[in-house]
Symmetry: C2
Subunit: 421 residues, 2 copies
């Protein structure tokens, strides 16, 4: 259905360190997927994904090389439409806002899809809701579990060699507070428990959101080991389902419902700009939008300080970074095995912006749109206003642009510190 532009895998042979770190990255990607099941089931199962229903694509893993069936992705229009039917009575149909002032500043017609007004304050609720209402009654009764930064136990064997080459494995798994809060809220709606493992030194606003939505906070020490042990204990004791924030077809399908709404609300849109982190949001948005209208351009907006997706697109495989540095703390995750194929094939380009541009865009959202967005939420506007977008002849005819304001869960203290810089 979509035009494929396969990227041949190229490895720059100039640096041994780079090769080694990429090798470890692939190893990590491979085992990460398996290990989540180990945690969930208490022992290693076959490599087939168990927590995905049959309608979703199976990702085959052969040795160190990951191959994905290019004709299929982890979600498609029918799974996204099914998600919409499943969640529509629980979610807000968020409004699309326009601003003549911002149109004048950008030189384009902009349509802001305000997912910051979604329940839980971010788009995450769509995916979480779809995942939770996809569970069968027996599994659902046991509840769901997530924790704020998740590093499978098996990866610890790589910790020391990774540390020697400056690779911090803790950055591989970053599950934002938005997912935890969304999961808690969706679980509350289904009337099942949501266990959220949170380290004692977590930001208060994050804890408040989880508690507000009825999540059961399970405190752990701040070390990764303590969090994992606590999560494992919860999983073993409760039999709850572990729900990944983006590398899950149900999550991707849920996020895709944004496109269905947006293109009904503003059918004239020719381009959609989407924040990219783990890729769950953009995968869903791209799959739905390109299914409805293959001519729509899907552009990702990414912080320069966490540009793993841009690097991945450039070299044709998942690239992970040794560290990330950006004010957009929701955009620090790396692509997963289920999101990467969509990003590779269906995302037309990735626009990277620096933190100053993100803060400026955020300020415009407050001052002109009157919408309280978090930095990750404002990055789409930052991309539209960036020189790299404005001056790129490829995007000259992007005139009717949908921008997804992905979330609004900002700590007001952090907000102020951002503006003051």
């Amino acid at each position: 259905m979509f035009g494929h532009r396969p990227n041949r895998r190229r490895i720059d042979p100039s640096s041994y360190i780079v090769r080694l770190s990429n090798l470890i990255g692939v190893l990590v990607s491979t085992f990460r997927h398996l290990d989540s099941h180990q945690l969930e089931k208490g022992k290693r199962r076959r490599r087939r994904s168990k927590n995905l229903s049959r309608s979703y694509t199976f990702v085959r893993i052969r040795g160190l090389k990951m191959e994905v069936n290019k004709e299929k992705y982890a979600a498609d229009l029918s799974s996204i439409e099914a998600a919409r039917a499943r969640i529509s009575s629980f979610i807000h149909k968020t409004p699309v806002m326009t601003s003549e002032s911002l149109d004048a500043i950008s030189g384009r017609k902009l349509f802001f899809k305000c997912e910051c007004f979604q329940k839980g304050g971010a788009f995450k609720f769509r995916g979480a809701c779809n995942a939770i209402f996809s569970l069968d009654d027996q599994q659902a009764a046991k509840g769901v579990v997530t924790h704020s930064r998740f590093l499978p136990f098996i990866l610890h064997m790589f910790s020391f060699p990774c540390y020697l080459i400056g690779l911090d494995l803790t950055t591989f798994f970053k599950i934002s507070g938005n997912h935890a809060a969304a999961l808690a809220l969706a679980a509350k709606l289904r009337g099942i428990p949501a266990y959220v493992v949170i380290p004692k030194n977590a930001p208060q606003c994050k804890v408040r959101n989880v508690v507000r939505y009825g999540g059961q906070v399970i405190w752990s020490e701040s070390t990764m080991q303590s969090r994992e042990e606590t999560a494992t204990k919860v999983l073993q004791e409760t039999g709850a389902a572990l729900i990944h924030p983006f590398n899950d077809g149900r999550i991707i399908s849920g996020q895709g419902t944004i496109s269905l709404e947006l293109l009904e609300q503003s059918p004239q849109i020719d381009t959609i700009i989407v924040p990219i982190s783990g890729g769950g949001l953009i995968s869903g948005v791209a799959l739905a939008a390109k299914s409805i209208n293959p001519a729509i351009r899907i552009l990702a907006a990414e912080p320069k300080g966490a540009n793993d997706a841009a690097q991945s697109k450039a070299v044709g495989r998942i690239v992970t970074l040794t560290e990330t540095n950006t004010v957009a703390d929701g955009l620090r995750a790396f692509l997963g095995e289920l999101t990467w194929p969509v990003v590779r094939d269906l995302v037309d380009d990735i626009i990277t912006v620096d933190d100053t541009e993100i803060i400026d865009a955020m300020r415009l959202c407050y001052e002109i749109l009157k919408v309280a967005v978090e930095p990750s939420g404002a990055i789409g506007l930052a991309a539209v206003l960036s020189d790299s977008f404005r001056n790129n002849p490829a995007w000259k005819d992007c005139n009717q642009i949908g921008i997804i304001l992905s979330g609004g869960n900002v700590d007001l203290q952090v907000l102020w510190n951002s503006f003051r810089k």
Copy 2:
């Protein structure tokens, strides 16, 4: 059509100073109305209001006693419906937002009418738009004029005696930046000039808004005398129409369109809480809402530091204050001759809140609703959450409450300072 509850005029005889200041207040109220025409026309005309079209109520003035025909107000349902037809293609039909979290906190079902998303960032655009599109072509071609704080020249004769008793006349006329920006924007849509007299020391955000919407900024010195002289000069040179921010039937009718929308969007509403300042907004909202459903309660929310409306309701006549002190800078104006009768007859009660409550409500708007409101905009939520509202048995059955988030034009620096306190 509406139940009238006339309040007899009572003057507390205990204090000479209070009597003197009230006397001066009435004098000021009397001459303020006349003097705006003096400015507009260049010379004093008959006491009949000239800038109101024939469909609006005539306010008779006899000596020092102001009387208003109690069967008629400055606007009615038909003038409000006419306003809607006139402005609907120019304004945003603002969304009504709900939040289960805020419902849980307040113990009621809340419907937030987001006028902060209105063009110009506040409800003011509705009235400004109606006033400007009500002008005949000949008058319109000459443009419109306003300035930020307007003190008629004739009042200067009272300045010295007022100063002796601690009465600052400059607080009598406070026209917020929202009105100036809204007028500029509406004038731009009609293609006519808007002259906004702004003192050189005005806040930058206010100036930016006026310039953004195409208003012609006429700089004056910061003294009241300079502003008036500049405004008079503009009026004489251009023949432009002076448009009052609230004491004008066209403005009141424009603001009333909020009720028409709100009661269509959420017909189950049994109470509407409205910020009160000069009374233009609440007059329009009350006239429209009570015409549609006389059982609807209309409650005003007012800062304790500028509680002239509450005092006015208590004593049955317009009370003005020697000074105001509140973070809600948009709520410092006093009732006008055209808004007072509506407030007196149709507003069921006035709930006063202190600045701490306003800031707390504002924070909830940011953190939960994800809506950037100014302090004046958040006061309706502050009222719902206040003890005086919660504990008042008269409002126990107010279960479906519409709250008007009136505007979002906040200086981010001021915002932060508010939150930090």
